[in-house]
Amino acid sequence: MKHAHALLGAALLGGTALAAAVSFAARPETVAVEIVAGERYLGVNQLARLLGATKYWRADVRQLTLRAGAHAITLTEDNPFVVVDAATEWLATPVISRAGELHVPVALLERLPSDSTLARLYFDERVDRVVVLPSGGVVGSPRLTVSEAGTRIVFPADRPEDALVVSRSRAHFQVRTSGFFSGGLPDSLPPGGLVRRMIERESVVGSAFEFEVDPLAAGYRLVTDRRMRRITLELDRTAGPGLLAFAPEGAPGPRTLRTIVIDPGHGGADAGVVVGELSEKDLTLALARRLQSEIQRRLRAKVVLTRDDDRALSIEERAEAANRARADLVLSLHFDGFAGPATRGASVLVPPATYAAAEGGARPPIAVVPWRDVGTRHAVQSRALAEAIMAALELHDRGPTHLRELLPHGLLGVNAPGLVLECATLTSRADRERLASGGVAALAVAIADGVVAYQRNE
């Protein structure tokens, strides 16, 4: 009964306003304010959600208490006084009721306690939105300076110590911070610098930036200064003490591919995705055989299949087969399936460039990589392979394609560049029709095109 009473209270407060799905953006959440008689208000349902607070409604006195952790905020309808913990705060305008929901003036946000137990809310006047700040606070616009020695990029940040290099490849060098990026990136980069491109990347918490680093850069250093509250990324032309190496990329020009291992996914009792007559384990095997002959014909490389019949293999057996063959490349073939009505196309899983090996004259700290994660040593080549195959699939009208940087289960312990390729989505009617029209042979040609492009490295 009491539960029902509470639910009734929620309904009175306009709980239905929150039922609609909102599009997920991997950035701090923002909520638009409402303007009533020239004043800016935020609905309490949104406020409670942003604060992660629980609502207690007392209908007899039209009073709502939001509780989050050790904090309590009490609001009363048509009353400008708000109790925040033990303190009574007076707001210039009262709490109002609109459409059955209390609304509070945004001025309240400045009176909320600021500690780690309560979400930090920030009213962005420029866009009339309330922002939930991540734990790292705010990261500001970067300042770039170019010198003969190299390039420095400096970000002001509330918590610089949280900054982290998450990808060390020159083509996709990524730095993640824990703060909300409130600034902007420069429209153009200074000439002669070591940064060719700079974009903001999606990040679940805080913000992330990706840099395309010039091949002339010999090493990098990330310096976090808590006192000055800034993050500095230094890219130097010459390798020196304290500099870290980028992820190994291999020499320019054609790559040597002597042995290619193709791993048809699933098998035996594990059929994988099954849609009607189509079974993933059979399709991967048929595709692997076609791809084997296609690559042998075009690259004259030795191509090894981890299985050439319908049997189950453990992940260790697959990795052992690839490592024993001293593979220069591993292609783990799969077909996707998901109930999403608009899910279609191909997707690729590749190891992330988390670790870097010593390179050039730099002497980075020794990174001990568990054998399980050895595939991350080949992350740069794996990504290059993924991009080549995705481009080929798109050219053959086998898209859309999608890339995820995540060490896949199928590449655990595999000491070679490789990827898991979901060649098509069997649950998609359009993909099944494409597969039926060209068969696995057409798909094999498209993938082989990508492998050849990777080998040429042009």
């Binding site: 009491k2 539960h3 509470a6 639910l7 709980g15 929150l18 039922a19 609609a20 799905a21 599009s23 997920f24 349902n45 409670a48 959600r49 992660g52 629980t54 609502k55 207690y56 007392r58 006195v61 009073q63 208490t65 309590a72 009490t74 009363t76 048509d78 006084f81 109790v83 033990a86 009574t88 993640r176 999606e202 990040s203 679940v204 918490v205 994988g272 995705v273 993933e280 992940i315 996707d336 399936g337 998901f338 109930a339 999403g340 009505p341 608009a342 899910t343 279609r344 997707s347 899983l349 999608h402 995820r404 995540l406 896949p408 289960h409 655990l412 979901e422 989505t425 069997l426 649950t427």
Partner: protein, 178 residues
């Protein structure tokens, strides 16, 4: 005549002053509220479902009664995920998945033991697998303060993978699942 006018003006002033005074008295600072502890609170939880194109997650806010314990809270979240979306998202968690046990240590590692239906009910490829795990990890981390990593176990035993594409043998960093 002047006396009458003066009286009227004085009376008007008195009325206006009284009205202002009374209006001011209507507005009073509320006393620090003693929340009725017997009354259940309502909290907006953020649930994550798959986008229709399977490329990302979609957040859906839902008002839920506030449970008193960690187990009750996570159990409610898993139940709501299992019920499916009300908006335009797609359910990503294998049907019938339920919480068996949950433990949050002081270093932010949440161990989440789910029922065997999580593994047995799984159908699909790497997209389905990624979204099932991401839906679970994002939802619990968004609604349980202090969670930094999530270790998923199934039926009380370690789980190396769900469908053969995503490695689950290690704790998952919540910042990497979106």
């Amino acid at each position: 005549m002047r006396t009458a006018l003066t009286v009227v003006i004085v009376l008007a002033l008195v009325v206006v002053t009284a009205a202002l005074f009374l209006r001011r008295r209507e507005v009073h600072a509320p006393a620090a509220v003693l929340v009725d502890s017997l009354q259940a609170g309502i909290r907006a939880a953020t649930l994550y479902f798959a986008a229709p194109d399977g490329r990302e997650l979609i957040a859906e806010a839902r008002e839920l009664a506030e449970p008193g314990t960690l187990h009750a809270r996570v159990d409610l979240l898993v139940r709501e995920l299992d019920l499916g979306p009300r908006g335009n998202g797609v359910a990503a968690l294998p049907a019938g998945t339920a919480l068996r046990a949950v433990y949050l240590d002081e270093r932010g590692l949440l161990t989440l033991d789910v029922s065997r239906a999580f593994q047995q009910g799984f159908r699909g490829g790497s997209t389905a697998e990624y979204l099932a795990v991401a839906s679970l990890v994002r939802t619990v981390s968004a609604n349980v303060p202090g969670v930094e990593r999530v270790l998923i176990t199934c039926g009380g035993a370690p789980l190396s993978t769900l469908g053969g594409h995503i490695a689950l043998d290690r704790p998952l960093d919540v910042t990497e699942w979106y």
